[in-house]
């Protein structure tokens, strides 16, 4: 569209023996980093968690904090001037779509950075239009930001950075919290922006395949906070493959060492009816679902969960997948119709899970929430897994045995004394699963269990769930993850887009 380059001059980055130490820490998060990024170069930054990738990006953006928050040594220069000295030379997009929307309307949000840089009003609105166009957000300026999907929010944030005309674009796991459609949107928007601006570009992301075609150099940080490898993508990915895989990076083209449903069916032999012999353990009949009585998301749903199978629940955002899962799990009351548990699952109780007591749910249906922090109730990891057995009234020795067992199985034993809120994303996910499995429920419901997980955690989790199903547990997973479906999609439920197109404003626009 507009041919005026919507960016400042591409920035040259130079790090000389640069290091950063967070306040109160002994260890330097990054140290002795020597790195030169030429104008217009595009870099994918990789490394294990804790290697300081985010810290480096934040430092380049000048938002790493002042002396209270840490100390630095060596030099980190943008065009020869210390990073952070010139606000607006670097634009930063962060991981969490919800926490970086600043204002209530699309236009105002994009304008925010320009206002802070003292750009005159007419010029601001020209840049707003230009930036929204560049990221492909074709929405009225007054459109409420709360109604955007996760992918749209990330593009909005990109437009906000772009309107400042940065010569350096920094993305910190911009697609980790998005579904595949959102990932595609953001990736394409970034590609278009780079083409128009020629800005220097650094992205941090586990999912290498998203960005590998867009970058011309890969830099790997080592666990000790220095540069481990640096070079053209194919070469670095080949040479550092084992290191990267161990660090949880999704290296493209490396097959997952886990059996898919297809493999298994082939093993059983063609012509076999894989779904026979599995009675429904939980069913929804003519269900109307919604979080409130006046907000019906879907109506007339008939669904069945076959016992000892893994069912995946798929469908577009806003289709009501999470709401359906919560309703089947006995946490939300159906607005019409009913949820029916098989006699063996109810074992003496009524057929409707919503009428069961909270502690009766524990051994019958366990639910793992999308956001692990929503379900944490204890102050230590060990306390967290003891909650359910204690609620069941098990003797202390049994509680201890079960806790030890499940902590070991999910590699959390070393963290037993830590506060759940201080764990990393992968650790929190494992803990949220452990805390549910410890009660040994016959049905486990999971909402986007692999969202934003690195490859190592992903493999552990998926293998564990597969083992559970093979041991007779029934699984229901809400998921957008294609690889997950390949391994755990024994049975598939699809919710088509809701008939009523009114979008449901949820955090991140996920359903």
């Amino acid at each position: 569209m507009s041919e005026s380059a919507p960016a400042g001059r591409p920035v040259r980055v130079e790090a000389r023996g640069w290091g950063w130490r967070h306040a109160g820490r002994l260890r330097w998060a990054l140290d002795g980093v020597d790195l030169i990024i030429e104008r217009g170069e595009r870099i994918l930054l990789l490394g294990p968690s804790g290697s300081g990738k985010s810290t480096l990006l934040h430092a380049l953006a000048g938002v790493v904090g002042d002396d209270d928050e840490g100390e630095q040594r060596g030099q980190l220069l943008l065009d020869g001037a210390p990073a952070g000295a010139a606000r607006g030379r670097a634009g930063l997009v962060l991981q969490d779509p919800d926490s970086q929307v600043i204002l209530a309307r699309v236009g105002d949000d994009v304008a925010f950075g320009c206002e802070n840089l003292g750009v005159p009003r007419d010029e601001i609105w020209r840049r707003v239009g230009e930036s929204l166009d560049a990221v492909g957000l074709d929405l009225p300026l007054g459109h409420p930001t709360s109604m955007l999907s996760g992918g749209q929010k990330q593009r909005l944030s990109l437009a906000g950075a772009l309107a400042m005309r940065p010569g350096l674009l920094l993305l910190d796991e911009p697609t980790a919290n998005l579904d595949p459609a959102g990932v595609g949107e953001v990736r394409n928007a970034v590609a278009r922006v780079l083409e128009r601006t020629g800005a220097t570009f650094v992205v941090v992301e586990h999912r290498v395949d998203v960005w590998v075609d867009l970058v011309d150099r890969v830099v790997v940080l080592g666990g000790d906070g220095s540069v481990l490898a640096d070079g053209p993508p194919e070469e670095v990915l080949e040479r550092q493959r084992e290191t990267l895989l161990a660090a949880g990076v999704w290296v493209p083209g490396v097959p997952l060492p886990i059996e898919t449903v297809e493999d298994r069916d082939a093993g059983v032999g063609a012509g076999g009816a894989p779904h026979s012999g599995h009675e429904p353990i939980l069913a929804g009949e003519q269900l109307a679902i919604g979080r409130r009585r006046d907000a019906v998301v879907r109506a007339g749903l008939d669904v069945v969960l076959p016992e000892a199978r893994s069912t995946v629940l798929v469908g577009p955002n806003g289709a009501g997948k999470s709401t359906l899962a919560l309703t089947l799990g006995g946490l939300l009351a159906p607005l019409a119709g009913r949820v029916v548990a098989s006699d063996s699952l109810a074992s003496g109780l009524g057929a409707a899970p919503i009428r069961w007591r909270s502690r009766d749910l524990l051994t019958r249906i366990g639910t793992v929430f999308q956001e692990p922090e929503h379900q944490f109730v204890a102050s230590t990891v060990r306390g967290e897994v003891a909650v359910a057995p204690r609620a069941l009234g098990l003797p202390a020795s049994e509680i201890a045995t079960r806790a030890d067992e499940v902590l070991a199985r999910l590699r959390l034993d070393r963290l037993a004394g830590a506060n759940p809120f201080t764990l990393s994303g992968g650790e929190q996910r494992r803990l949220s699963v452990a805390a549910v499995l410890v009660a040994r429920p016959r049905v486990v419901i999971l909402d986007e269990p692999t969202f934003g997980q690195d490859r190592v955690t992903w493999l552990e989790l998926v293998q564990l769930l597969r083992d559970l199903v093979d041991d007779g547990v029934t699984l229901l997973s809400v998921t957008h993850d294609a690889a997950y479906r390949d391994v755990l999609g024994d049975h598939r439920l699809e919710l088509a887009a809701s008939v009523d197109p009114a979008p449901v404003p949820t955090p991140g626009g996920r359903s």
Partner: protein
């Protein structure tokens, strides 16, 4: 249809109906008008001044498009609170004149009846304009006005504005946490303790979200030393002056009526 309404309204109070005249007034002026109107009414406790003010207000709001139905829908907490305040005055207000009924400390007298009426009407005369004038205030517009017209520090105003956006997320968080307590087997009893763990978790999430938001704002140059410009100009004009004049006039008429009728009763007397 709701989605449409939201889209044209900046996402705030989409269901609030439009009002004539009031909608064209800058939010900061509305705030000032409420103060101009209600401060004099706080100085006296007679029934006449409040009744006059309330009467004039109701006529003017009706002209602006406030229907009885809208009035009830939007101000019911005040409509309930006012008589409750009145009843407490009726029973426990300073006794004076004939006593009609008494029980322990409660006494209904001529004096307490008059006070009850005065307080009920006064709560309405102060509460209704505040609620109705802010029926459709967009927080962004209010912040623009506070920073540009009232000259409050931009850092403070914009920080508060950005934080208001997180409230919706906290509502979602709270709901999810409530469901998860049932799923974790601790939903049967101990409501107090359960709420305490939820409050703690919400606090952690709030701090985390807040600091991420602060980083995002900083990355967009917020808090730098460069003098800030404003993408949206907050304007005040003739309508703003008119609202202030109207507010002052209502207050003056109400107080004058009380003085004239001899019912004026300053709170300090």
């Amino acid at each position: 249809m709701t989605a449409q309404a939201v889209a044209t309204d900046g996402g705030f109070r989409p269901d609030a109906p439009r009002l004539r005249f009031v909608d064209r007034v800058n939010p900061v002026t509305r705030l000032a008008a409420v103060m101009v109107l209600t401060t004099p009414l706080l100085l006296t406790v007679d029934w006449l001044s409040a009744a006059v003010a309330l009467g004039v207000q109701l006529v003017l709001f009706a002209l602006a498009g406030v229907t009885p139905r809208l009035l009830v829908a939007r101000t019911w907490p005040i409509l309930i609170a006012a008589p409750i305040a009145g009843v407490s005055m009726l029973l426990y207000g300073r006794p004076e004149g004939t006593e009609y009924w008494s029980f322990w400390l409660a006494r209904i007298t001529d004096g307490s009846i008059e006070l009850a009426v005065a307080v009920t009407v006064r709560v309405l005369a102060i509460g209704l304009p505040a609620a109705l004038l802010f029926l459709r205030v967009d927080p962004t517009e209010l912040a623009d006005g506070l920073a540009q017209i009232a000259r409050l520090p931009a850092r403070f105003v914009l920080g508060a504005l950005a934080a208001t956006r997180l409230v919706g997320l906290f509502v979602e968080d709270w709901r999810a946490m409530g469901l998860s307590r049932r799923a974790r087997g601790i939903g049967d009893h101990g409501a107090l303790r359960r709420i305490a763990t939820m409050a703690f978790a919400l606090l952690v999430l709030a701090i985390r979200r807040g600091s991420k938001l602060a980083t995002a704002m900083e990355a967009r140059g917020f808090g730098s030393d460069v003098p800030r410009t404003w993408a949206r100009k907050s304007r005040v004009g003739v309508v703003d002056a008119m609202l202030l004049v109207i507010a002052a006039a209502i207050a003056a008429i109400a107080i004058a009526a009380a003085l004239w009728a001899g019912t004026f009763h300053p709170v300090w007397a």
